[in-house]
């Protein structure tokens, strides 16, 4: 028998205002209209691995269960295939809501430390930020060294074969105007007069 756990939720488990905050982000507003039909979970190719189905995530967000949502593996399992967004009868942009939740989870450090997906996202961005382009070989190598140093060896075979077919290189690609890119990113960081761009 599995270990038993308390599943009741007390009012104190909620973070009042969390749902409203998410639903005020452009593209996420229609979450308000969710009728909990489960179409999103029904079409999601990854829902079978999720701790909370996409539908449950929608309900949890709306009811302010922030901790539950941001620590859920569901948001990281979303592969951005947009099937849910396209099929949702209430036209809720579920994929975009998942992006929004990923952002919040990263900002608030809500995911397990060696969980590879957020690390990939961060490494990816760092590389884009520094070089303007992704060098897939370097990115993957970094990712494995950070999250699963032991498995990195297991991937070596694949790396070798990729290298043989000319599809893997550790050389870093760079764009010319890296300074420009940095300046654009800096400008995006600056608090604009019109708010944080989420209004």
């Amino acid at each position: 028998m599995k270990e038993i756990q308390r599943t009741i939720k007390y009012e104190a488990d909620r973070v009042p205002g969390f749902g409203r905050e998410v639903m005020s982000v452009p593209g996420c507003e229609k979450l308000k209209d969710c009728i909990q039909c489960g179409t999103c979970s029904g079409v999601c190719p990854l829902s079978i691995y999720m701790d909370h189905s996409p539908r449950q995530v929608m309900a949890l967000v709306r009811e302010d269960f922030k901790r539950e949502v941001l620590s859920s593996c569901t948001i990281w399992l979303c592969a951005s295939c947009y099937a849910c967004t396209v099929e949702c009868p209430q036209q809720i942009r579920i994929t975009d809501i998942m992006y929004e939740l990923k952002q919040r989870a990263i900002q608030e450090g809500f995911y397990p430390k060696r969980f590879p997906i957020p690390v990939l996202a961060q490494e990816f961005n760092r590389m884009v930020h520094d070089h303007g382009r992704i060098s897939e070989g370097r990115l993957v190598t970094k990712l494995f060294l950070k999250t699963k140093p032991l498995e990195a060896a297991g991937m070596a075979g694949l790396g070798m074969r990729l290298m043989k077919t000319g599809r893997f290189s550790l050389k870093q690609e760079n764009i010319r105007d890296r300074g420009d890119l940095a300046r654009i990113m800096e400008a995006m960081d600056a608090p604009a007069s019109g708010g944080n761009g989420k209004d």
């Binding site: 990854l46 691995y49 947009y82 396209v86 884009v128 764009i175 960081d189 604009a192 019109g194």
Partner: protein, 288 residues
């Protein structure tokens, strides 16, 4: 016909074969591609997950470069790039605040976004600008007897179905038929290949790739044709792991442009076909 060309990072790395086949095939059809000068990564799915503002700015820089380069249209062969660039345009249209901010940021390096540059996928261009008939006329070595399962993946049809039917796309089917190949009808045309999860969470990601390969094989396909470097990679690179975890489902997955090149009589090695792990075997030409 002249288009700005946004290759994206994958077409310079794991997806080299896509570029290697795309360029000669389009040239052969009289389509001129001019690579966008100093393009940067589109941001793919990862950047959105961290900061949507920066993700937008990143993609918008490319759109601004296209504008500066005087391109009327931009071609993005990678599905992720295609989606991200399109999505950015939608996003900027829907959120004036974001547009102001992004335009301001681009302004710091004298770039501007004053018009919409349509972002097109090669499938769209081939079908609607070049036309099936023009393609059929270039076929010198029809792919008769080759049974191909057309695989579109997610992001060329979702969430924006700009050039094909969202639920049952047929643009690649038409192209493959024009090449003389036999098209395998299957219900998995637009299912997810696992995306980046094949690397980060193989249990979940590879299962999707496995199921796709298994179903295509079951329906009698000799090969899967794809339009996206990540789909190609996921369906091509993990056969060992799939075999170890489930069962061997060896089936070549090639870019549709490689099949076009073959049908146009181009040698396989000039189309990057040697880069695939599972080699494509063409049926012997029937004596006719």
């Amino acid at each position: 016909m002249k288009y700005g060309y946004f290759p994206g990072c994958s077409l310079k790395g794991t997806g080299r074969a896509y570029e290697e086949s795309l360029l000669p095939v389009l040239r052969h059809l009289g389509v001129e591609l001019v690579e966008l000068e100093d393009w940067n990564c589109c941001g793919a799915t990862a950047y959105m997950a961290v900061d949507e503002g920066k993700a937008c700015a990143l993609a918008a820089r490319n759109l601004a470069l296209a504008e500066r380069g005087g391109f009327q249209q931009l071609m993005a062969p990678c599905s992720a790039c295609y989606l991200v660039l399109n999505k950015t345009q939608h996003y900027l249209d829907e959120s004036p605040a974001m547009r102001r901010k992004v335009e301001g940021a681009l302004g710091t390096v004298s770039l501007k976004l004053s018009r919409q540059t349509p972002v097109r996928h090669p499938l769209d261009v081939l079908l609607h600008d070049v036309g099936v008939e023009a393609i059929r006329q270039k076929v010198t070595r029809p792919l008769s007897g080759l049974r191909v399962a057309p695989y579109y993946g997610c992001q060329v049809v979702r969430p924006y179905a700009t050039f094909d039917d969202q639920a049952n796309p047929t643009s690649m089917d038409q192209l493959l038929k024009a090449l003389g190949a036999e098209v395998v009808d299957w219900p998995l045309k637009t299912k997810c290949c696992g995306g980046s999860l094949t690397g980060t969470l193989p249990v979940a990601g590879l299962r999707l790739a496995y199921l796709l390969l298994k179903e295509a094989k079951k329906r009698g396909a000799d090969a899967i044709a794809t339009v996206c470097p990540l789909c190609q990679f996921n369906l091509d690179a993990y056969h060992d792991k799939i075999a170890a975890r489930w069962e061997p489902v060896r089936l070549p997955t090639v870019y549709f442009t490689q099949l076009m090149g073959l049908a146009f009589g181009m040698p396989a090695h000039t189309l990057g076909l040697q880069r695939g792990f599972v080699p494509l075997e063409l049926p012997a030409p029937t004596a006719a």
